[in-house]
Amino acid sequence: MPSTLERSTAFTRRPGWSLYLWRRYRLPYLLLLPVVLLLLLFLAWPLASVFYFSLRRTPLGEPSQFVGLDNFALLFREARFLGNILASLQYLVGVLGLSVPVAYLAAVLISSKVRGAGAFRTLFLLPWIIAPVVSAILFRTMVDPYTGPVARALETLTGRKYLFLVNPQLAVITIIVHSAWRSFPLEMLLIAAGLTSIPQELYDSAKVDGAGGWAQFRYVTLPLTKNQLFVAVLLITIWTLQDAEGVYSLTQGGPGYTTEVVGVRLFKEAFIYFNVGIAAAIGVVLIALSVLFMVFYLRVLGAGEGQ
């Protein structure tokens, strides 16, 4: 009696078996093919080319040369690049710290049955649909020391001039507020989706158990919106880490290199200085940072999943 292995080998060697498999399963694979091709074209290829160029020196108008890890070595020897990474982390913490609580409050408001919730929903979405460069110009206009309403109002109240884009601390605050203002609508939508899926009975039961507002939030709302929060925080982290246009339009990385986050540095190296190799190396570092944050969030927010 032939063994199972022999039987299966005999099967696979049977003439026409491959043809049979192809005829039976080709349709789903062929239907998936366009997506796979598009993913390869728009995801795998650019990703591979970033890694490829990060190992090369590519002066414009000249052939590129393989330089190994020189671009990375050059970057990590620079105080400027380490400053860029710190500025990015500071920017990220600021944006998340400001936008997440605001998004939670806004989500509670638009999910509630209060009158005008629909109007708030529309109003809160406005920052998200405005192009970053346009909103950056809007912010710049608002904080202009001579004509900006925010700067003028503060000057009237306190009697001193506020140079938002000159003072390093105020410049950092300005880019954080701008980005948080742009980010919170998406976080709000995701959290609101989670909020609406929580059954009212859970709150009723919590009330019967004597839970107050904070306890209801801590033991009902927060755990049941954790997945949405995870997605929101992850998305905003990746966007904030890679943000260049908003910050560049506001401060161009200044004063000095105070607000030169990694995305802005990458933009300058690639599109102003044409240092493609260094820009690609910065891109690789950005990818690594994003992956690190993803793993971190999975560990922290994903802990206790399934309990």
Partner: protein
């Protein structure tokens, strides 16, 4: 029944076949990269001249950007209309880019295979353009000009900047130099004689101190994140104290020299010691910090006031009959003085016109370029600043004391260092100055730190 099955199988197969073919075609189509092959430059108009052709003109005139730009925009529209009327077989399509990005756009688009025709360019970046090869060699066209026509332009340092290894890649449209614009009325109020403005740096500083009161700052400057910071403020002082920004022999940055330290100290003292320059000069834009502030009466003196802003002084009524230039030009509320730095310690440049390497109609593009630089067209081009044509300077319109001061300023000027890494040098020095100013960082050490950083990447290149 069997017939129906056959029909169904065939149609599915056909569907898959067509889908596959479509995908392959899409893939092949997407993979064909546009090639950056330059059309052969030919002085002869192409046969396509007989048919209507469209050429693109890349400019930087945004009427909303600054008070001066609306005049440039109006000039541009007039030029296009006049040219199209004169040459109905050629259409001109303007395309806008920011003034400080137009050079990069040309380079990037050349690499990406995106076509342009006539483009404005900066002489500071001609070395980079030449290295990349995004502009065509204009020499075959220019060789057809009469000798006098060439001499009319070739006196200008900008002509020389646009000539790289005996290849002419640009033609100047004017002379951009800077002066110190000052408010004559404020001079009188402060007890200073508006007819004898400061001639030395020390006199200028003393005047600035006397003029600073209330909301009015004595001396406006700009130290923001822009090329203007190095070109109009830091470099003139470095040159004034006998230093250089970059050494052409070693191709190393040298701005942390003793002269560089003195220059940065002067700038620091203006803001924090003498308090004659507003701290807001460290941010914002050059146009706002100098032109808008001067016109709004926030500055008694505006250093780095460009010849391209003469039109704005005229519109405000600060000067009369000066734009377009007339012999009766007079300084009324405002005047200009030659920048009080040492001879040669001033930056002069101008916009050049070039033709993009990927232009499909270089002959038509050159025809348009020639049209733009005709004396009658350059005459009232606000952003020309001052005449690029030497022959215009001897005309009566340019003999007023106002224009003679500008001519003196232009003669005193010099270009920026011809490094291919000029944008990086400009950004590095601007960031360095900002670091010194906003963080009150030690001057010598900070300059050295930034200079070392630049040299680590670009020295020798």
């Amino acid at each position: 029944m069997a017939e129906q099955r056959v029909v169904r199988r065939l149609s599915r197969r056909d569907f898959m076949r067509f889908s596959s073919l479509g995908l392959v075609a899409l893939g092949l189509g997407g993979c064909v990269m546009p090639t950056a092959v330059a059309p052969a430059a030919s002085p002869q108009p192409s046969p396509a001249l007989k048919k209507p052709v469209t050429i693109k003109w890349a400019h930087y005139f945004d009427p909303l950007q600054s008070p001066a730009q609306k005049f440039n925009y109006a000039w541009m529209e007039r030029m296009v209309a006049t040219f199209e009327e004169k040459y109905p077989e050629i259409n001109v399509e303007p395309e806008y880019f920011d003034w400080d990005k137009i050079d990069n756009r040309s380079i990037l688009d050349y690499e990406a295979g995106i076509k342009h025709d006539v483009m404005f360019g900066s002489p500071q970046l001609m070395a980079k353009h030449f290295q990349v090869g995004d502009y065509i060699d204009l020499t075959p066209y220019i060789k057809q000009w009469p000798e006098d026509e060439v001499k009319d332009f070739s006196w200008s340092p900008v002509w020389a900047s646009a000539r790289q290894d005996d290849v002419q890649i640009g033609v100047p449209t004017g002379v951009h130099t800077r002066s110190v614009a000052y408010r004559r009325d404020m001079f009188k109020e402060a007890g200073l004689d508006p007819d004898t403005p400061p001639k030395t740096w020390d006199e200028c500083l003393e005047a600035a101190k006397a003029l600073t009161k209330g909301d009015v700052w004595g001396l406006g400057m700009y130290f923001g994140p822009s090329r203007a910071t190095i070109e109009l403020y830091f470099a003139p002082f470095v040159w004034h104290f006998g230093g250089e920004l970059w050494d052409p022999a070693t191709k190393k940055a040298t701005f942390a020299s003793e002269a560089g330290v003195k220059a940065a100290q002067v700038i620091y003292d203006l803001v924090y010691t003498h308090k004659v320059t507003p701290e807001s000069a460290i941010g914002g834009t050059y146009d706002d910090a100098i032109l808008a502030s001067f016109l709004a009466g926030r500055l008694a003196m505006g250093w780095g006031f460009g010849s391209y802003w003469i039109v704005s002084l005229e519109e405000k009524g600060f000067i009369k009959n000066c734009f377009p230039a007339k012999a009766e030009c007079t300084e009324e509320t405002a005047g200009v003085m030659v920048t009080p730095t040492a001879p040669g310690a001033q930056f002069t440049n101008a916009w050049t016109l070039s033709i993009h390497k990927l232009s499909e109609h270089p002959a038509e593009a050159f025809k348009f370029l020639e049209f733009l630089i005709a004396p009658e067209n350059l005459y009232d081009f606000p952003d020309a600043g001052l005449p690029a044509r030497l022959s215009l300077w001897s005309k009566a319109e340019f003999q007023s004391s106002f224009y003679q001061k500008w001519l003196e300023a232009a003669r005193k000027g010099r270009p920026m260092p011809p490094t291919v890494h000029y944008p990086e040098l400009a950004d590095t020095t601007a960031a360095c100055l900002q670091e010194i100013l906003v963080n009150k960082a030690p001057i010598a050490e900070t300059l050295k730190k930034f200079e070392d950083e630049w040299n680590a990447k670009y020295a020798g290149a």
